[in-house]
Point group: C2
Chain length 181, copies 2
DNA sequence: CATTACTTTCTGAATTTACTGAAACTTGAA
DNA sequence: TTCAAGTTTCAGTAAATTCAGAAAGTAATG
């Protein structure tokens, strides 16, 4: 069964964006394909649908599993493995976000921490440390904040998101209220 | 003037992370170097400090300018151009964030919009559209939300960030208050 | 308009990354 | 234990990216 033109366009787009989202073309395609396909697919289905080698699919599956984006299904009396997205769109976006934080932020945070522990030994290093301190604060804040967001219930999160420009007002509100205590 | 060992380590780290942040190694190094160096630097200074070719620096500068991460200074009676970071750390992070949104989200959003305008012509396409709709909503929300954040004053933003887990309470609070009206 | 001081563009080489297809491996059933 | 259906690994190759250095461009100055 081959993809309709529109669906194919979407899958190819996912491929092109793949590398921008943190993986490579093939893996982007696989991910897109599994998302828009209702039924779980076997590795061979995937290879056929995308016209790529079986081996490539196998590597891609491993990678998608390491991102926790897909899960395996089994059909009784059938030895093949069937793959499907690991959750709702929202969950998947969260996973990607988390994983990227791990790769894009955490290593830098740890380097900066180490560096800031040492005493600067001259003016040049002093300035550098000041700047690194700024970056460090920023990344720490982002990290803390993102883990807070993950902790919220979906409906709380939804409310927060819908709040939009109201967010400013709510902050001021909170300010007034807690000042009284 | 060459970099101290610690500063060099930071610059090299920026290089390694470069591709994860959306540019390439050299450009990451250049960016890191300019951030920790107090005085603006000429293209030649940069080439020397990083031991890379002059041509490569030129390309890197162009790219950093397209990200709006650096600005040019001129010294009276000196024909050279001096480069320095375009703003505070916070501004630069914002720029990177914005730029990445443009590259990683906007193209997909526009593809999805187009696709959702068409009527699905069979069950398979109907399911695909449902999924694309979900992605579309998610991306729209993220987009709207991020532009809201940019609109907040720095101190409001700071309060919000510091709020941490308190955010849940504030949402509930807001709920109660506005329900009464 | 020629020179000087500087910047940008371009080409091909080097490096890195991604992909194929075949071989090796795994697992369950007979 | 052997076979068959399936999966994974890996060596070699193809493709994409990055880079140095040379050539071309630009603009101020005399």
């Amino acid at each position: 069964m081959s993809l309709s033109e529109k669906n194919l366009a979407f899958v190819m787009h996912c491929g092109e964006m793949g590398s921008r989202w943190g993986f490579n073309r093939t893996i982007g395609q696989m991910c897109g394909l599994l998302i828009i396909t209702k039924e779980p697919m076997t590795a061979n289905d995937i290879a056929d649908a995308l016209s790529i080698s079986r081996g490539n699919v196998s590597m891609g599956i491993k990678e998608l599993q390491s991102w926790q984006l897909i899960k395996v299904h089994h059909v009784p009396g059938d030895r093949k493995e069937y793959y499907a997205p690991a959750g709702e769109i929202w969950d998947m976006a969260n996973r990607v976000f988390e994983e990227r934080k791990k790769r894009e932020i955490d290593p830098t945070l740890s380097l900066l921490r180490d560096n800031l522990l040492d005493e600067a030994s001259n003016e040049e290093e002093r300035y550098a440390q000041k700047q690194m301190g700024e970056i460090h604060n920023l990344l720490e804040t982002v990290t803390k904040w993102s883990s807070e967001l993950q902790r919220l219930s979906p409906e709380q999160l939804n409310k927060l998101m819908k709040l939009g420009s109201g967010i400013g007002k709510v902050i001021d509100l909170k300010d007034k209220i807690f000042k009284k205590e």
